[in-house]
């Protein structure tokens, strides 16, 4: 699971109001090289929750992203785009869990696949 996906997931348990972002419990993180595509990054920048990405990236051991939402002018910087690219697409959570920030419920991640299935009493 890439951090782009983490950025698009929220806790779906009934009654949860603020289920985003899910906290990451990382047991195994792998890095996989992905083709660098500035257009894609510029397109995604407006759709990403920056704080969630920066925090998630830190939890995964990559501490190079600014904490504060950067000004969109940074998208002209190759150096910034490379870091954004690495955090968003190249860090994979292979094993671990995503934790609902409100209830503490764990959603397991195995073989890089988050399992968001709910129990009957959670829907």
């Amino acid at each position: 699971m890439r951090l782009l996906t983490h950025n698009m997931l929220s806790s779906n348990i009934k009654g949860v109001i603020n289920g985003f972002p899910l906290l990451i419990q990382a047991e195994r993180v792998v890095e996989k090289q992905v083709d660098f595509n500035p257009d894609f990054l510029k397109n995604m920048f407006s759709k990403i929750d920056w704080k969630a990405l920066a925090d998630a990236s830190k939890t995964m051991g990559y501490d190079e992203l600014p904490d504060e939402v950067p000004d969109p002018s940074v998208l002209d910087s190759q150096e910034f785009l490379q870091k954004f690219h690495h955090a968003l697409l190249e860090l994979h959570l292979e094993e671990g869990a995503l934790v609902c920030p409100e209830t503490g419920r764990r959603f397991p991640v195995n073989k890089g696949i988050p399992n968001m299935l709910l129990h009957e009493d959670e829907v």
Partner: protein, 252 residues
């Protein structure tokens, strides 16, 4: 060179995961038929609900290929084995999609709302007793409840929420699902509809229908019947006559 699609010998399998079948081929044929349009559409987020073996999402990623430079793929399935098998199928073809084990798109709906440019679905569509829907095991891959509509009727509102303004939905239906009624229902929500592929075998008649948000339809509101016919209405009429012709042929 014709565009590549997933190769059956590279599609991974598991005893509890639906194997590619006529319905899967019909859906991929629809995507192939629309390839040029899909490329001109410049999709960013593409998503499959109910990915099973991964045959369809892998084919979509191969069909769009490197020409759709900004395309990014998600696939979901309620069956955890399906997500694992899909991962293997994707890897065997050297393409990538992000996988989530979930009911339809639960957990993704909030943040992906209005962001999906292309959505593809081959749902469990076979008419069965309602109890069989969502049961554990392979039958949940096809069991669709009354008229096969149980899961379909849950997916459509999710698609409506997820699709971007320019979003397209490609969905497969069986004649027994009453695709005509589905198109009318989607029309009420402002969607145009078109049959991209239709196929009849001895056992079943399949339609792949493409839906898109049509601003003209939304403008018409409830007085559509009274206003002069617009192009989308004519499109729908064409579709209706098409479907009724098909069912007419079936009755013969």
């Amino acid at each position: 060179m014709p565009p590549r699609i997933a190769q059956i010998r590279l599609v991974s399998s598991h005893p509890q995961v639906y194997e590619p079948c006529d319905d899967s081929y019909a859906l991929v044929d629809a995507l192939l038929a629309d390839r040029t349009k899909l490329l001109e559409h410049h999709p960013t987020i593409c998503m499959e609900v109910g990915c099973g073996s991964g045959y369809v999402i892998t084919s979509l990623a191969l069909i769009l290929g490197s020409e759709a430079r900004n395309a990014y793929y998600f696939a979901t399935d309620v069956n955890p084995y399906a997500a694992t098998v899909t991962r293997e199928t994707l890897e065997a073809h050297g393409v990538h999609a992000e996988l989530v084990t979930t009911n339809i798109a639960s957990g993704l709906e909030k943040r992906l709302s209005g962001l999906v440019d292309v959505m593809v679905v081959n749902p469990p569509y076979v008419p069965t007793p309602d109890e069989e829907v969502g049961s554990l095991g392979l039958s949940s891959a096809w069991a669709g409840g009354e008229n096969g509509r149980n899961v379909i009727d849950k997916i459509l509102p999710v698609a409506d929420n997820l699709l971007s303004d320019k979003g397209w939905l490609y969905m497969l239906f069986l004649a027994e699902n009453d695709p005509l009624q589905i198109c009318l229902q989607m029309r009420d929500k402002g969607y145009g509809a078109k049959i991209v592929v239709q196929r009849s075998t001895e056992e079943e008649t399949l339609h792949v229908i493409k839906f898109w948000r049509d601003p003209d339809i939304q403008m018409e509101g409830n007085e559509a019947n009274l206003t002069p016919k617009t192009a989308p209405q004519r499109g729908l009429e064409f579709l209706l006559s098409h479907i009724s012709r098909l069912s007419f042929r079936e009755r013969q």
